[in-house]
């Protein structure tokens, strides 16, 4: 009976479930380590973690053709790089501003790029990257390829003018792109209700005749199913799609955000904790007894140790040489030098 029920509920193979569990833990520990690094002064500037939002990458990036499809997002980008298969030491090194970083320390946490893996950033201007995303999809169509572009943007970014301009052109030209609005209910310290006239952000796609919907983003398995369905549609139809995913930001806006009481209560956070993606996954595993408690804990500490090793390796990477400051301004020349 229970087994059957379990079987019924089971919408992914045990191997898949374990994969998602590992990836979720991986991101969770990686991000916690980033916050530690930041507090230790090993990372600087603005640093934004993905804690609580893991299904948006675990569910979605596992549903695309990695390295073929295009992925682009804003500054909350560690999870995207990790799941696309970027070298985690290079990711951590970049966050720590080392020469071993993906951009040799020139980009930092907000600007992770790994073009070979299909990661086109990593951008700091809220909303600005949505137009670039349109360009990635435009290129795929121009070349007659069936690549899909995933463009992640926040609920706050969904108010930026350039996003609407891009939606219009994507609808007008039938570009194969999925705009994933990560609705984590806050734009920095501003609550959704205070920044959006209509808090159902998915409707913004409809005004341009674009298929649009709002879905849950806490349940990894559900996210995976939705991702497969929508990505399949976009790849087949070659049309744009807007999906608003309801999630929650458990951490502060960024590592420097040290007074969350300004915009939310601990009670509110607790309420959402009940649907913490990691907890939902763990419950699911237990309910369907796919793993023993022991194994789950073993995996947890195994990953925690791996992240420690990654951190150590990154911390061993040197800072770039002073004269690298002039590299990469142009592909073929140097800028005027000196002060």
């Amino acid at each position: 009976m229970a087994k059957q029920a379990a079987h019924k509920e089971l919408s992914a193979t045990p191997t898949e479930i374990e994969k998602y569990y590992r990836e979720t833990l991986y991101i969770r520990h990686f991000e916690e380590k980033c916050n530690i690094a930041y507090r230790a002064g090993k990372a600087g500037g603005y640093l934004h973690v993905y804690i609580g939002m893991e299904p948006l990458v675990v569910g979605w990036i596992n549903s695309i053709k990695k390295g073929y499809d295009y992925v682009i997002t804003a500054y909350r980008d560690h999870g995207h790089a990790l799941l696309l298969g970027s070298d985690p030491v290079a990711v951590m090194s970049e966050i720590m501003g080392r020469s071993g970083g993906m951009s040799r320390g020139k980009g930092g946490s907000m600007h992770l790029y790994d073009l070979e893996k299909g990661l086109f950033g990593g951008w700091g201007i809220v909303g600005g990257h949505t137009a670039l995303a349109g360009g990635l999809a435009f290129a795929a169509k121009y070349r007659g390829e069936d690549r899909v572009t995933l463009c992640y943007l926040g609920d706050g970014a969904a108010n930026a003018g350039v996003f609407f301009e891009t939606l219009n052109m994507c609808g007008l030209w039938d570009l194969p792109i999925i705009f994933i609005i990560e609705n984590n209910e806050f734009a920095m310290g501003t609550r959704l209700e205070y920044h959006a006239a209509d808090t159902e952000l998915w409707k913004r796609g409809e005004a341009f005749g674009i298929k649009s919907e709002r879905i849950d983003g806490m349940d990894t398995l559900q996210a995976k199913k939705d991702a497969e369905r929508i990505i399949d549609y976009v790849r087949k139809e070659g049309k744009p799609y807007v999906v608003e995913i309801m999630t929650y930001r458990f951490a502060g806006h960024g590592a420097a955000d040290n007074d969350q009481a300004l915009y939310r209560t601990p009670a509110e956070v607790e309420e959402h904790r009940k649907r913490d993606p990691l907890i939902l996954l763990q419950d699911y595993i237990k309910r369907n007894n796919l793993m023993t408690e022991e194994k789950m804990e073993a995996i947890d500490s195994e990953i925690e140790e791996e992240i420690d090793r990654i951190y150590e390796a990154a911390d061993a990477s040197p800072f770039p040489e002073k004269d690298e400051v002039y590299d990469n301004v142009y592909t073929d020349m140097e800028p005027e030098k000196g002060h």
């Binding site: 600087g44 603005y46 501003g97 320390g105 600007h111 959006a196 800072f319 400051v325 301004v329």
Partner: protein, 326 residues
């Protein structure tokens, strides 16, 4: 005149409070300036104190809310727009230079835009390429705008009050590195500093250093080191880029015969070039050496700290610039 030791941040904040209380038409508008107190906490406590009518949190829409502020100003309100960082004002440039700065002219004087756009300009600490712009030079190129960049708490308060009471759009650039510096600030609620008046931050007879905003402090540090070598540098704090007080600048150069213009912005095409060009034109016969310039490196701002520090001029770079004069 009674004064109080105040941080640059509080000097700005106090002025905002005093002017909101003084004039019903004054209001603040920007991102996360209310409930969140402002990213650099310049507006801390103001939302609680004055409410959502006078302190307005906006969606992330620089073009939109800058335009809304401009339209409101055309009816006589006096908006003070906060750019979370001046870098983001790039998105609103069309609204600022094509609408706010020009409507007085295009209407033949009918419309006025009594608006202030303020926020931190320049590099903070590892905010990377998209968040570290110095834009004051671009703004100072635009007729219809006034542009100020105070270096001390007192200047910040006196110039901000003038800006708020001015009937033209004013760009008021602060600097992330200045918010915590302290200085005596006059208590007088009507204390203002007029635009177009530079300040002699340090007197000297051998050499002139011209700067604004945080670079004034870099120049003062360099001046101390020069002094140890027996070279007395005069430091001119421009304060207001548009209008520009060339009289004071030229006066100092005519006295010292040697000058270096220092600015954080990308060296090539920065406003320091305009200042240098004017000195070259007007002080030709007084110069014993070419007009020197020390500016930021001509590269996008890198994230990692050691490279970032390479880009921003410091006292050693200023000294090197002085030595180059020979």
């Amino acid at each position: 005149m009674a004064s109080t030791m105040t941080t640059y941040r509080d000097a700005v904040r106090d002025c905002l409070i005093e002017e909101i209380e003084r004039d019903e038409n004054v209001f603040l508008i920007g991102e996360d300036i209310g409930r969140y107190q402002g990213t650099f906490k310049v507006t801390a406590g103001l939302f609680e104190r004055f409410g959502g009518r006078r302190v307005i949190d906006t969606p992330i829409t620089e073009p939109g809310f800058t335009g809304i502020a401009t339209g409101a100003a055309m009816t006589g309100l006096r908006p003070i727009v906060e750019m979370m960082t001046m870098s983001f004002s790039i998105l609103a440039l069309d609204q600022i230079i094509n609408h706010a700065a020009k409507v007085h002219y295009m209407t033949g004087g009918q419309a006025k835009v009594p608006m202030v756009i303020r926020g931190p300009g320049g590099a903070a600490n590892q905010l990377s390429a998209q968040h570290s712009h110095s834009l004051e030079g671009w703004y100072a190129h635009c007729p219809g705008l006034k542009v100020v960049a105070p270096s001390t708490p007192a200047c910040a308060k006196g110039l901000l009050r003038s800006a708020i009471r001015d009937d033209n759009p004013v760009i008021f650039t602060e600097n992330p590195g200045l918010y915590s510096i302290k200085g005596e600030v006059p208590d007088d609620k009507d204390f203002t500093i007029p635009f177009g008046k530079a300040r002699i931050a340090r007197e000297g007879k051998d050499l002139t250093l011209v700067a604004y905003s945080r670079m004034v402090h870099v120049c003062l540090a360099a001046a101390e080191e020069l002094s140890a070598e027996g070279i007395e540098a005069e430091v001119v704090d421009v304060r207001s880029l548009l209008p520009l007080d060339t009289e004071t600048i030229f006066g100092s150069v005519k006295k010292t015969h040697r000058v270096v213009v220092v600015y954080e912005d990308w060296k090539s095409g920065g406003f320091g070039a305009e200042i240098a060009a004017r000195i070259g034109e007007e002080c030709f016969d007084d110069l014993d050496a070419p007009v020197g310039r020390v500016g930021g490196l001509n590269v996008p701002m890198p994230y990692t700290r050691n490279l970032e520090l390479e880009c921003i001029p410091n006292d050693k770079d200023v000294l090197a610039g002085v030595r180059k004069l020979g």
